[in-house]
């Protein structure tokens, strides 16, 4: 039984890795793979079906759908990765600091995090981007400014747990500096759950970014971004349903890849389970059922509520 679970996990990890690498390669090699220029308008060939020249047909301006999809990877996926990098650049040091330092520092950081988490993330990011004005860069900034809080909280939770390990105590006893302990010992211990988290959240960020572009609040036409392409296809839903099929599929397949990869990377019983629990996510076997999410909440409220 246990063996079965393990192979199942490995299969999803492999499928996820293949999907993710495939999409990444599509983005990197887009100039080589794309049959035509993604911005080339050919009104004579508009809304054409698949052909040798346009393998997936053309859109309402006669642009090659396949080329736009390939180049779209560069915007949709690479923007999501950029947001992820920015988010982790903030949340890892902040979470590390809060968990490791504890006390007053922890309380102040956690209060800021709780305030940010009181807002629906997508809505606050939307509002910040709206205030800053349209543009992909503003959207990236808005996402990074809002999205870091949840991760910082999770990373703090991991650090709190890892801090109690004997090897940390040993490192402290042997006179290692705080910085060295925090980065060398604790962060390394949290590397795997952070990787799982990163893989899963790339999918979420990609979904949100493309969603905002779909609403016309993110990337702007004519750029070949998947959300923009979906939005472009809306007026033709009755006559050319194929147009909305491919960009949506591209988003769904990419997100699925990251989710499968995250699922496969998570070790059963490893440290990753603690953060899933604290988020109320899929709880692996535990001795007391209703407790995990509840106790995490109560702990969160109590720890810095006095």
């Amino acid at each position: 039984m246990k063996n079965q679970v393990k192979t199942g996990k490995q299969v999803s990890a492999w499928i996820g890795a293949v999907l993710v690498l495939g999409v990444l390669a599509a983005g990197v090699f887009a100039p080589l793979l794309a049959p035509s220029d993604p911005l080339d308008v050919h009104m004579a060939h508009r809304l054409a079906g698949p052909s040798a020249e346009y393998p997936l047909g053309t859109d309402h301006l006669g642009r090659c759908v396949l080329s736009r999809l390939l180049y779209g990877t560069r915007l949709s996926l690479f923007d999501a990765l950029a947001v992820l990098a920015a988010v982790f650049a903030v949340s890892v040091p902040v979470g590390l600091l809060a968990g490791y330092a504890g006390g007053r520092t922890d309380r102040i950081i956690m209060t800021v995090i709780d305030v940010l988490l009181a807002f629906p993330g997508l809505i606050l990011a939307l509002a910040v981007a709206a205030m800053l004005g349209p543009g992909a860069l503003h959207l990236l900034l808005a996402f990074a400014a809002v999205w870091w809080a949840g991760y910082a909280r999770l990373i703090r939770g991991m650090v709190l747990q890892l801090k109690e390990n004997d090897y940390v105590l040993a490192a402290r006893a042997s006179g290692s500096s705080h910085l060295r302990i925090a980065f060398d010992h604790i962060l390394r211990g949290a590397a795997r759950p952070i990787l799982v988290l990163a893989s899963m959240e790339t999918g979420t960020i990609l979904l949100s970014l493309a969603g905002l572009s779909f609403l016309g609040l993110g990337a702007q036409p004519p750029v070949p971004e998947w959300g923009v392409m979906l939005s472009d296809s809306r007026p033709y839903i009755q006559t050319e349903p194929n147009l909305m099929l491919f960009p949506g599929l591209a988003i769904a397949v990419s997100v699925l890849g990251f989710n499968l990869l995250a699922e496969g990377l998570r070790e059963p019983g490893g440290p990753s389970r603690s953060w899933r629990n604290s988020f109320g996510g899929a709880a692996p076997k535990r001795s007391r059922a209703a407790k995990p999410a509840a106790s995490a909440r109560i702990e969160a409220q109590r720890g810095h509520g006095e």
Partner: protein, 301 residues
């Protein structure tokens, strides 16, 4: 409780600060709403009448005082009070949210329970597949697909707007399907855990029927974490509602906010952000109180 107060204070500070993120002066933005560069004197006069020439902390206190009297300002786009605009649209969003939670429950309860009863079975795999699809599927794409099949091809449901119960079907399925995935996993994990407990065996040993043990003894306890998650997810639900409401022209606060962003109606955006944060805070407080009722071991909130 003090903690809630501190969080609400922070929420008000951020919401107030949002207005000052916009490039340029709020008075100028308000006057420029119709696209014409306003005269200097007009901007100065409006600045004075809005109290924008006062120091920032006085401005904040004034704003807070108005908010506490439920005055969220006047929409730049419609000229109506924002509080009134939001109040008239809130029931539509509440209806959509409720319907989507029902859709999510209709998927997650049977699938989560069945997966836990027979781990590794066909139903368990189906549950895993549905939950993977649910978390990977873009809601706006699912919405488009449903629009195409449900409204364009089959003509079973209206494509847009809110009239009659049938109109809620497509948006609620779109939003509910996206929520269902995590609950399937959560209910499955909770059930697996509860089913191994001694009191379940005791109930079976007393001769109670399997169905009643599963529903009345096991499921009830396995559902507790889902209640917490619903509290945590309410923000995500409101964010998703903004996209789905826009797609289906559902007259709720989410569509109002997206329209406000198009119209650069900063006052309305600010009001909407504040309202959603308050809803999230209220729902989470409600979940905490509910827990205190359900679990007497928890004394303090």
């Amino acid at each position: 409780m003090t903690h809630l107060g501190v969080v609400l204070l922070g929420v008000s500070l951020i919401t107030f600060g949002l207005m000052h993120l916009a490039p340029g002066d709020p008075a100028e933005i308000m006057l420029r709403a119709n696209g014409v560069q306003p005269a200097r004197e007009a901007v100065e006069a409006l600045r004075h009448s809005l109290g924008l020439d006062a120091p920032l902390h006085i401005q904040y206190l004034n704003w807070l005082g108005r908010v506490l009297r439920l005055d969220l300002g006047v929409s730049l786009a419609t000229g109506e009070p924002v509080a009134q605009e939001l109040r008239s649209r809130l029931p539509a969003t509440a209806r959509l949210a409720l319907c989507s939670i029902l859709v999510a429950a209709a998927l997650a309860l049977p699938l989560g329970t069945a997966s836990a009863l027979r781990p590794g079975s066909l139903l368990d795999r189906l549950g895993r597949l549905v939950s993977l699809a649910s978390v990977s599927m873009p809601a706006y794409w699912l919405g488009l697909l449903l629009l195409f099949y449900g409204a364009v091809r089959l003509k079973w449901f209206p494509a847009a707007g809110m009239d009659g119960p049938a109109s809620a079907a497509l948006p609620a399925i779109t939003l509910g399907f996206g929520m269902a995935g995590v609950y399937i996993r959560l209910i499955r994990a909770g059930m697996l855990d509860v089913l191994g407990r001694p009191y379940i065996r005791a109930a079976r040993a007393r001769g109670l029927r399997a169905g009643s043990v599963i529903v009345r003894h096991a499921l009830r306890n396995a559902l507790l974490p889902s209640a917490t998650l619903l509290g945590l997810q309410i923000g995500g639900l409101l964010g998703g509602a903004a996209i789905v409401e826009t797609l289906f022209a559902w007259p709720g606060i989410g569509k109002f906010a997206v329209d406000a962003i198009y119209a650069k109606d900063y006052v309305a955006i600010q009001g909407y952000v504040l309202l959603t944060a308050l809803i999230v805070a209220a729902v989470n407080l409600g979940v905490d109180l509910l827990y205190r009722l359900l679990d007497p071991r928890i004394k303090k909130i």
